[in-house]
Symmetry: C2
Subunit: 315 residues, 2 copies
């Protein structure tokens, strides 16, 4: 058997973690089982999770507080992302620890690192934000919040108005050195939650940025920086497909970066859904000949590593 | 000069971090300057901070959300503590990083670790909680919340009703191994925020506990576990005093554990204020002959280490 112990970055969707705390507590159990299957095989696992529903809930709570107590300042989005990192990290590190102990790993430490990720404040996305976050509002309420906080709102498919923010690419993981040390020391690390707390440089100061960073893009950056062997991007389908939703649908076992780019140009992958995942996978796979990316379901991650399912992206 | 590079755990009060985010952003700057004075001298610094006002704000926000959206489940106190760790940790690690860079330390990493601390679920404090947290409520509102969430409320000095929770002693720092690795690797670590996320063992599962852990007690435990040379407990006075508030007030330059115990028995130190600080200092100092604790003002920490001010507790 040609088993190879791999260093793996796993990108986990925020939607897969549930919309409420109860849902999250069930979801982290399921997630931990899948991750421990990899750890039990000897792989080194670093987890990056999304935070869409969670940062939405925290933002709603902070806005509700401001309505009740006008003395409370409006909470910046970057701070809500920060809070979502420990909101999710605490539960996830706890569930991972429990699952590890259930399997006899009594001393494998799991740790969540509060992580800032630097973006470019001159990214054009800040001028024309497109990523919707938070609740649907009436036009009146949206106008009020726009005037009060300077937020930008867009009408969303007849369902009301939603705040839109920029989603610039991640440039630097500020706490990389600490993450790297912990991974090297054999800890299971949860980092860059929600794509990282978005910040930009202002002299020696890092200022919070009003944006969200795509967690798949940040996972790719982290995987490259810690020299991972594999990036696993977990999603709601077992394999990547072309002609998705058509009779001619074709599920892909593997993809080269070149093939993927052709399909991207054909518009085969939905923006905001499969497209950023394929882009992150390609970016990682082409960064070094030994590196490969896997896109599959959470429950299929272990089979996917063994080459039995999922879509592998490699040169 | 008999300079000795020390490993120091610094316990920082949550009140010193301000009541709002704006106050916090100013407070972390001031705090970072004082901490960097120690780091610049070559000391290894680990920071434990309180979270009183911050966890209060987060709890209020989560309650406000539940009032607006009854589908949202009530947020457990342990989860609010978790969120307070990244709410404070993000700002503090950012300010420390900036101050270090301003002084030419371009590569010293600062990292916040989401930390759980185990307590005993059979601690008698859970039957008779005494630590007030959160807002003052009317009797009617307190009764309503008591019925809805099972919280316990007590009348507080004619000012209204406040929720009271247990404050059991910390037994184990769950993420100790990761904290230890980071400290050994030379990182500046922020850990055990708010005394730690309180949890208790239920088989292999750690369940969130409805309590708060005294951050001075947790600082003492952490300092012992990582074999620190010194525990610095920062407070609102420059030195510990006996006969405080009287004409016979006497400010103390040093204290032995035996002297401290005598003064404690005399009731010299206010419960919930100086008493837990002196207790933590004594506990640390008597754990090993080489260990000493310092109680002083934030701005005097550096002078205190040099023996110029503050109250030193040593055997």
């Amino acid at each position: 058997m040609n088993f190879q112990r791999k260093r793996i970055v796993v990108a986990l969707g925020g939607n897969a973690l549930g919309n409420t705390l109860e849902e999250q507590m069930r979801a982290v159990k399921r997630t931990s089982k899948a991750l421990c299957d990899l750890i039990e095989e000897g792989h080194q696992v670093v987890v990056v999770h999304g935070n869409g529903p969670q940062v939405g809930m925290i933002t709603n709570a902070m806005n509700a507080l401001t309505r009740e107590d006008p003395d409370q300042p409006n909470m910046p989005l970057s701070m809500c992302v920060a809070m979502s990192q420990s909101y999710i990290g605490y539960d996830l590190q706890n569930a991972l620890r429990e699952e590890l102990r259930n399997r006899g790993f009594l001393r494998t430490p799991v740790v969540t690192v509060v992580t800032q990720v630097r973006v470019d404040q001159n990214d054009p996305g800040f001028q024309n934000p497109t990523k919707p976050i938070g609740k649907f509002l009436s036009k009146e309420e949206a106008d009020k919040q726009a005037a009060k906080y300077g937020h930008i709102f867009k009408e969303d498919s007849g369902r009301g108005y939603r705040r839109v923010v920029a989603s610039p690419p991640p440039l630097e993981i500020v706490e990389l050195d600490a993450i790297h040390s912990l991974v090297d020391a054999g800890k299971i690390v949860i980092a860059c939650g929600g794509g990282g707390i978005p910040v930009y440089l202002n002299g020696n100061h890092l200022r919070g940025a009003s944006c969200v960073i795509d967690k798949d893009a940040t996972s790719c950056l982290l995987a490259k920086e810690i020299d991972a062997d594999m990036l696993i991007i977990l999603t709601a389908v077992e394999k990547v497909a072309i002609n998705f939703g058509k009779e001619t649908v074709q599920w892909l076992d593997s993809l080269t970066p070149d093939q993927a780019r052709t399909y991207i140009e054909e518009g085969q992958f939905a923006p905001g859904s499969m497209l950023p995942k394929v882009q992150a996978a390609v970016n990682f796979a082409q960064s070094n000949p030994g590196r490969e990316a896997l896109i599959t379901l959470l429950e299929k991650a272990h089979e996917g590593i063994c080459g039995k399912t999922g879509t592998i992206i490699r040169q």
